[in-house]
């Protein structure tokens, strides 16, 4: 008989990593958020000073506002798109594999700098998008020059990468028992009714999963604004991760940057907790009350 600790031995890499690269840094940044630390002198404890300063920091307030706006714009848009296309693909279509692949490509490439570069070009004043608009007889749009448009254009970049969420939705849709639809159809339910009353409830666990994952990522968006807009114009795309980066790695205000990171973390946590709490009311788990 093997020791009951054998399993733990296999977990050793994870346990060490958890301690050194996650747990200690996690607490470390909490500690640093109460200090003043410029990487040269040792950290100086300043209590709540950083957080007090944040309340009066107009850049922070602006950054926080655009971050929330960005997340609340991007996540619903992306999930709605992913679900919409997944539902269409789920009709017994031929060539489902072809379309699934085509829609998934942007997700594979989306995070790369090259795509951010591409975005800069196609949404430039004389870029592809405005040329198409002109061809349709529409006014060109100043995509990056206007604060509202700039944030929206970045949000489109994320929405464009809906493929991974779509593939997850599609897997869930394909797992829905087809006999339920047949039974509903016999009872005279319309397609829309079946969708709302059968499909949606059955895939709520996956909607919930996608919602959380997409939200956590959207709050951490960095590459897009860093490469495409540099946070401008008028800091309208200066998302919190950019501010944290600038404070930490350009100004070397490690304490202040940690404080911003913790505020961001607490917001994400709070929204995740709200989502989990509310999920009891809207997420349906077939036959398993524990989860």
């Amino acid at each position: 008989m093997e020791s009951r600790f054998l399993g733990l031995a296999y977990l050793a890499p994870y346990l060490i990593g958890l301690l050194i690269f996650t747990a200690i840094p996690f607490l470390g940044s909490l500690y640093l958020s109460f200090t003043d630390y410029n990487l040269i002198q040792s950290p100086v404890w300043t209590g709540l000073d950083n957080f007090r300063e944040l309340m009066n920091d107009r850049t922070f307030m602006k950054s926080l506002r655009v971050t929330l706006l960005y997340v609340f714009l991007t996540v619903p848009l992306k999930l709605a798109f992913a679900l919409f296309i997944a539902v269409i693909l789920n009709y017994r279509l031929r060539a489902i594999g072809f379309f699934r692949t085509a829609y998934y490509v942007p997700s594979i490439l989306g995070g790369s700098i090259a795509v951010a570069v591409l975005w800069r070009y196609i949404f430039a004043d004389a870029g592809l998008v405005n040329m198409v608009l002109a061809g349709l007889g529409l006014e060109p749009i100043n995509w990056f020059g206007d604060p509202v448009n700039a944030l929206f254009t970045l949000s489109l970049l994320r929405t464009w990468q809906f493929g991974s969420a779509m593939v997850i939705f599609l897997a869930a849709l394909q797992a829905v028992d087809k006999s339920l639809y047949e039974a509903a159809a016999i009872d005279g339910a319309s397609k829309w009714h079946s969708f709302v009353h059968i499909t949606l409830p059955l895939i709520t666990p996956v909607i919930f999963f996608n919602l959380i994952m997409q939200m956590v990522q959207a709050f951490q968006e960095f590459n897009g604004p860093y490469v495409i807009t540099g946070g401008g114009p008028l800091k309208s795309t200066y998302l919190l991760p950019l501010y944290i980066y600038d404070e930490a790695f350009k100004n070397f205000n490690m304490g202040y940057a940690s404080a911003i990171a913790w505020v961001l973390f607490l917001i994400i946590m709070a929204l995740t907790v709200v989502a989990f709490w509310s999920s009891k009311k809207w997420v349906y788990y077939a036959g398993d009350k524990r989860s």
Binding site: R4, S29, I96, Y104, A114, L170, F265
Partner: protein, 299 residues
């Protein structure tokens, strides 16, 4: 693309009236049209990018077409040389140097940990598995600064160590989670038979589990390849010498230094930067789709 066999006629439909048949055809037509149009809109930027990389600078902002009027390789030739002492070849090599160890470390460490979680009972298992899920959701932004300080104190700045080492400790919880899901779906009969024959747990892992887990491990390696290829913030924070820059940083550098006039250089290098990921994706797409469907995914 090989999926054409997906059940097109799944249910034997009882005789349709001609009106119903017409409605069904119409709705299929609408669906295909919608999918094709949306797909084209989504992919056209990428297609345009390839065409534009062969255009002259004056043509890039002058036409929406894909085919260059006056095709040139200037963008590739000049872009490859860069404004640094190094060519893009160097940056591709650097990217490879970052990716290879990282992918190998990830596959090994995650397989060990997933095996531990999926096949053993031990004290504290529940809470440790919960910690795995928590790490999955934990925003990196909150651990990044102390990690940077740690690597600085170890003297690892401007080396690849900060990018490599965490992956040797199952740093991407997502992959462990994905492998655990795969393992749970594999019956234990073979492993039990091996144990009865006297194999110890490590031998069982190596000779029985790993072969069965190979498709999943390929998924893990592919995702890690893609993510590392796309990773920008990690190299941005840890690397400062141009000679050790990966492609992502080099591309950003070339925007900063040449953008005002030489657009086709940047576009050409963007095409090259996307090429490895595209090739790998098209060669191995089933592993991606399976990986995502099994474990859920970020991206």
């Amino acid at each position: 693309m090989t999926d054409l066999a997906t059940p097109a006629i799944a249910n034997p439909v009882p005789a349709m009236s001609s009106e119903e048949l017409r409605a069904a055809r119409l709705s299929a037509f609408v669906r295909y049209s919608l999918l094709t149009i949306v797909g084209l809109i989504m992919l056209y930027p990428l297609i345009w990018l390839i065409g534009a990389s062969f255009k002259t600078n004056s043509e890039i902002f002058g036409s929406i077409g894909f085919i260059p009027q006056d095709p040139t390789l200037d963008g590739y030739r000049k872009g490859w040389e860069t404004s640094t002492p190094y060519t893009f070849g160097r940056f591709f090599w650097n990217t490879f140097l970052i990716i290879l160890p990282k992918t190998i470390f990830t596959a090994i460490s995650c397989a060990l940990v997933a095996y531990g979680f999926a096949r053993f009972e031990f004290p504290g298992k529940k809470i440790l598995f919960a910690s795995l899920i928590a790490t999955l959701l934990l925003p990196n932004v909150v651990t990044r600064i102390p990690q940077y300080i740690l690597f600085r104190d170890l003297g690892w700045l401007d080396t690849y160590l900060p990018l490599w080492v965490p992956s040797a400790f199952a740093g991407d919880a997502f992959f462990v989670f994905m492998l655990v899901q795969f393992l749970r779906a594999i019956p234990r009969d073979m492993e039990e038979a091996a144990r009865v024959d006297g194999a110890n747990s490590l031998q069982t892992l190596l000779y029985i589990v790993v072969p069965m887990l190979t498709p999943a491990l390929i998924s893990v390696a592919l995702f890690q390849f893609m993510w590392t290829m796309n990773d920008f913030l990690g190299p941005l924070i840890y690397l400062s010498s141009v000679e050790s820059f990966p492609v992502s940083l080099a591309l950003k550098l070339s925007i900063d230094t040449t953008e005002a006039f030489d657009w086709n250089r940047i576009l050409a290098m963007s095409v090259l930067a996307l090429l490895p990921a595209l090739i790998v994706f098209f060669m191995a797409q089933k592993y991606f789709i399976e990986g995502i469907s099994a474990g859920g995914v970020k991206g």
